[in-house]
Symmetry: C2
Subunit: 274 residues, 2 copies
Amino acid sequence: MVQRTVFFISDQTGVTAETLGHSLLTQFPDLEFRRVTVPFVDNEARAHDLKAKIDAAAEKDEERPIVFSSLVHGPLREIIRTADGLYLDIFDALVGALETELSTKASYAAGRAHGMSDTETYMKRIEATNFALANDDGGMTRDYEQADVILLGVSRSGKTPTCLYLALQYGIFAANFPLTDDEFESGKLPDKLMTNRKKLFGLTITPRRLQQIRRERRSAGKYASAQQVNFELRTAERLFQKFRIPFVDTTEFSIEEIASRILETTGVERRVAP
Amino acid sequence: MVQRTVFFISDQTGVTAETLGHSLLTQFPDLEFRRVTVPFVDNEARAHDLKAKIDAAAEKDEERPIVFSSLVHGPLREIIRTADGLYLDIFDALVGALETELSTKASYAAGRAHGMSDTETYMKRIEATNFALANDDGGMTRDYEQADVILLGVSRSGKTPTCLYLALQYGIFAANFPLTDDEFESGKLPDKLMTNRKKLFGLTITPRRLQQIRRERRSAGKYASAQQVNFELRTAERLFQKFRIPFVDTTEFSIEEIASRILETTGVERRVAP
């Protein structure tokens, strides 16, 4: 089968072109694509280089590439349009409808959707990341008063990456607390958590999957045994139910999905715009 | 001025609708928007709730909202289309051209662009995140052999958030090493870095901005003084030049832009698809 080359191109980071293009390609699950991102196409020399790359891929594949473009600068778009590819402009399709609706002309300035148009936004994301790092894994007294949300779960249920994603993507202050024998044996949660009970959110996972993840980390011993994993997960879920803590099974979810579910369930407000 | 409400809606996380919608709205820099994301619109009850929300916003704003939708399920789309908003379907515009080009019908199955279609992808992102956490801030002997890239820079130049973003977004193994008096005084880099010299990438920043960031952390003392900040940055840049380490000034950049520049400059391959 011919494998098409797909280019995601942008005068900025390429994140928008990648995100939309990737979503569209999932609508063609039986086809395979070779993906190439080319960011910062912001002058004519780079545009000509890119045109040559697209032409070369067309020749090699014997099929013209698909080009998802978020370029806004007219002369650069014209150069790429002459390349041997299907040029899909991700803005053109919708900008006209927006202009009419808003009675305003689009600026056609390079977008900087992922640019630091706002220093405050950058600082908030950094602060939130530092908060997640400082409030990872419960041990010492933590700053739960400042937290927007506190994730609970057994070791390797996905707490840390989720907290970091919430921080980087949404500027949310997310702490996490690992459930261990202390909680399993007492059936209680520490006072510092109980006083912030409304911020608690649980993560769970299937025993099978947790075993798989723990084995990759430390293959031998009790830690990844079926018995231990079953015990921990069963007891953790009982704690969630006892204290009416909302929780989600992360087994089939990506980090984006876990984060979206948390926002949706808790109503926590993001601190930075999407 | 009327503030329009903008809805980003999806049967999945809403990341695609948000990303594209946000990029488009940056083309109208003089207007202000109130942004609402509604993920997981995956059944008729939720679609009717959402329609009611859109109608309520239209009434309150006295202008109909703008709705960026990545819904793929026909009946749900039909419900939202009857709401009092401008319905912009981010797929419709391009799916036809893709179907023709690929001689394949789109599946119109809920996309899961950010779903865990691939367990391996999830594991790689988690592993990369753990690597970034374990290899943060240089102190002990680190696992630089496994690293894809090693970021160098003075304290608070953005190393840690950038490493975490590279891990979560791209599955890249990114370590970081803080430049301190040891390097400034000797004019040398540790052997463990020199043996991985091709992986090194520097971050720098303007003195003014670094002072601002450091002051937020610790307002008094030498750490945030103009003299100290100037000395550190000047010496760090000299080290980058001496050892021919590519570097980027992060002052005007978002985390996405810093990450894209690193990929672009080093040619490091991402380990997971966009």
